[in-house]
């Protein structure tokens, strides 16, 4: 849901860009001869996706919309997995991030003015997108690089029994103090049989985000056996 909001605004931005490109459209002599009249070519901001339209098309918002729609349609055909976040959310639920609605209208210092609806929506949406990315890795042996077809959710549905709130703690079996990411890597290496991830690997960061998010509300209790 939230991810859709962001994509909708991305779409609007693309439409605006398409408008800009209309102004920069170039006449195409070859196409003109094929169609028997003048056409103009419009290129999307990716520099690759193109559509042609009659050069004498009326310069109205409706006409611009049509061109933008045609461009987006072409681009989506080339990028079929663009909705992976929404797709992931149809399969797996994530705990919602704090909405910070109580902060709307309150000042946050001279530089940025007061906190707006848009601010809190952005914070929540982006936080949740990070967690959705983690959900995707958590539920995919392929993303984790498992050599035996094992993913985290097979033992930890909805990240149950991962108890991130208990880290750092002395891990008796390892004889040292570990962080959540150390235990994630332990699982990746042993039950999952994959290569451990670097601490700043985007998959590790996403996994941590998902696991913490799923234990929302649990009191921090580091060191708990």
């Amino acid at each position: 849901m939230r991810a859709r909001v962001i994509r909708a605004s991305a779409l609007l931005a693309l439409l605006a860009l398409a408008g800009v490109w209309i102004l920069r459209a170039t006449r195409s002599a070859d196409a003109a001869s094929a169609l028997g009249k003048d056409t103009a070519e419009v290129t999307l901001c990716d520099g690759q996706t193109k559509v042609e339209f009659a050069a004498d098309a009326p310069k109205t918002p409706e006409s611009g919309q049509k061109i933008a729609d045609a461009l987006m349609k072409k681009w989506r055909e080339k990028n079929p997995n663009v909705d992976w976040e929404a797709e992931e959310l149809t399969h797996h639920t994530i705990a919602p991030a704090a909405d910070n609605k109580d902060l709307v209208g309150s000042p946050q210092g001279a530089t940025y003015g007061e906190i707006s609806e848009r601010d809190v929506l952005l914070w929540k949406t982006e936080s949740e997108r990070f967690v959705v990315a983690g959900s995707k890795v958590f539920h995919s042996g392929a993303e984790l690089g498992s050599t035996i077809g094992v993913s985290c959710d097979m033992c930890h549905p909805d990240a149950a029994n991962t108890h991130p709130e208990t880290y750092p703690k002395y891990q008796v079996q390892l004889g040292r103090v570990v962080l959540l990411r150390d235990m994630i890597n332990w699982c990746i290496e042993h039950p999952v049989r994959a290569t451990p991830l670097a601490a700043d690997d985007p998959r590790m960061r996403a996994l941590e985000a998902y696991i913490y998010a799923q234990r929302k509300g649990a009191a921090l209790n580091y060191g708990r056996r």
């Binding site: 797996h92 035996i148 930890h156 549905p157 149950a160 039950p191």
Partner: protein
């Protein structure tokens, strides 16, 4: 700095060399004390010769019998994942070592992980090594790639019943899901992949379904109320936690069919844990998996359940296992969970009959988070 392993081996060495210094009298004293301590905790290793004799003497010779169970092996093919294959092999070894042999072995479903023919064939091949006859039950992981076609060709009907020593046994397919895949146009592999995810919310809830319920009713028509009844189903035939399908959506209707019998026991797979429930005349017992344990559901846990200890991730087989069921002459069962590398846990008929007041199984060493 010494590693944990080195420290452990050193202390072990010290203890063992100490034992060597004992004379016979001292040794008997130590051994006796150890055995005494084990007995005091009610620990009887289930599959060694002597204790089994003790156990069968305890149930009395006036009838009764035992069957073993193995469940939820979730096999990929051997070359893809040897770990799950070794789990099932270990269970087969456990059961083959039972002496006397059980009357039969129940396989509790989810033999395959992704329902592929070669996974089911791998499982069938391993189960052929069992000395006792096998009774098969189907799980969702066996079913949703080809809608049970391969499974049925290997093992026969998914619903069947039989009589054994005066007890009526019924195996019923309880993993029927409404077709969530048609509208979405999913391929068989995508459909199976969806069902294989326990926390995948795209799938539907498990049901026994109209057809199987009608079959069940008909199959039980001629059976007297006082005949002990044992039902095998993959999902628990009650409502525990919908999100993970620890749940059967038409459970109430199934329970209604079973209501007229004096003694009913449901043995189910799917939940991969020690799980106990009692609703009216029906006792419900879960089965352990040979592949991995599930965490307990965050809500809905039956009061009768005394949880198994939190599995140690550093012990690859912890929380897994197999087990056996002793059916007593009164039709009530003693359910033994043979947790690998741990003390076995028995949920006795006395515990069930007294609604949890007597003969309580041991509390977990470490509770769930």
């Amino acid at each position: 700095m010494k590693s944990v392993e080195t420290k452990y081996l050193e202390s072990r060495e010290e203890l063992l060399s100490g034992l060597g210094k004992l004379n016979r009298r001292q040794f008997m004293k130590v051994a006796g004390a150890a055995a005494g301590a084990a007995l005091a905790q009610g620990i009887l290793p289930p599959h060694s010769f002597t204790p089994v004799r003790v156990a069968s003497a305890a149930t009395g010779d006036a009838g009764g019998f035992r069957f073993a169970y193995i469940s939820d092996s979730h096999l990929y093919t051997r070359d893809k994942n040897d770990r799950f294959v070794r789990g099932l092999l270990r269970a087969v070894d456990d059961v083959n070592r039972m002496d006397p042999q059980p009357d039969f072995v129940l396989y509790g479903g989810d033999l395959a992980q992704l329902g592929r023919p070669e996974e089911l064939e791998t499982g069938a091949q391993i189960l052929k090594n069992l000395k006792a006859p096998v009774r098969m039950m189907v799980g969702e992981h066996d079913w949703y790639f080809d809608m049970g076609e391969k499974w049925r060709s290997l093992f026969g009907a998914d619903n069947y019943s039989f009589e054994h020593k005066g007890v009526r046994f019924v195996t019923v397919n309880s993993v029927v899901e409404a077709a969530f895949w048609t509208a979405k146009g999913l391929t068989p592999a995508e459909r199976m992949g969806t069902v294989a995810g326990l926390d995948n919310g795209t799938q539907s809830s498990f049901t026994v379904g109209d057809a199987n319920r009608a079959w069940l009713t008909k199959e039980l028509e001629g059976v007297k109320n006082e005949t002990p009844l044992v039902v095998f189903s993959h999902s628990p035939l009650y409502k525990l936690y919908k999100k993970w399908n620890f749940w059967t959506d038409d459970a109430e209707e199934v329970q209604k069919i079973l209501k007229r019998f004096d003694t009913v026991t449901v043995i189910h797979g799917h939940t991969h844990q020690v799980l106990t429930n009692r609703i009216g005349n029906i006792s419900f017992h879960g089965m352990l998996s040979t592949a991995w344990p599930w965490p307990y559901a965050p809500q809905g846990l039956p009061e009768m359940t005394i949880q198994m200890s939190r599995p140690d991730p550093f012990d690859p087989n912890d929380g897994c296992g197999d087990g056996e069921v002793t059916v007593n002459p009164d039709g009530m069962v003693d359910k033994l969970y043979n947790l690998w590398n741990r003390n076995p846990v028995t949920v006795s008929r006395t515990y069930m009959k007294s609604n949890g007041k007597e003969d309580r199984p041991p509390k977990p060493l470490l509770a769930s988070y």
